[in-house]
Symmetry: C2
């Protein structure tokens, strides 16, 4: 027997960040484009846009620097705050995993 | 900002127990009937039966004592092992919640 788990961040009882949004931001940084990142995850651009917009509003921070227009139809990259969010979230994931596995071993 | 979480138990990468099955077992104990408990959760009896049967096979334990037939069409109550499973799982939930909240406070 083993244990499975999932965590997410909320604001006013609503999910604002988790595994999916993290993946979206990481792909956006790598591909330089929120649209391409969304497409690569079979997510509509409008859903991706809403997700990021919601996250930024909830945190009161700018997460993506978006350049509109240009040859490639605009580009996106993480702001410093966006990078810190991902770093902290991955630290959270790592520590939670360690704690959960330890508690599981102790309990079962 | 806050943190949300969910845990579950797995066997061979498959979910075998979690919040829903726990609720089902607790209602079964209270109502004396797996069928009534399933109905009260808008779950089909066959789904509830499969869930418990799967859990018992995965753990190699009997979780419910089922009496078939009789005036009320049979009854079900938790075995000692079933009671211990619920107790341990609730201990796990409590400890995981404490640990996650602590880690969240430390990280964000």
């Amino acid at each position: 027997m083993n244990i499975g788990w999932r965590i997410w961040l909320t604001k006013d009882e609503t999910k604002i960040f988790g595994k999916g949004p993290k993946e979206l931001l990481q792909r956006t940084e790598k591909m330089g484009s929120l649209r391409k990142a969304a497409m690569s995850m079979n997510m509509s651009y409008s859903k991706a846009w809403n997700l990021i917009s919601n996250l930024e509003k909830s945190l009161g921070l700018k997460i993506l620097d978006k350049t509109i227009g240009g040859v490639d139809g605009g580009s996106s990259k993480l702001t410093q705050e966006g990078k810190i969010l991902i770093e902290k979230y991955e630290e959270l994931e790592k520590k939670v995993e360690e704690a959960i596995l330890k508690i599981f071993e102790e309990t079962f």
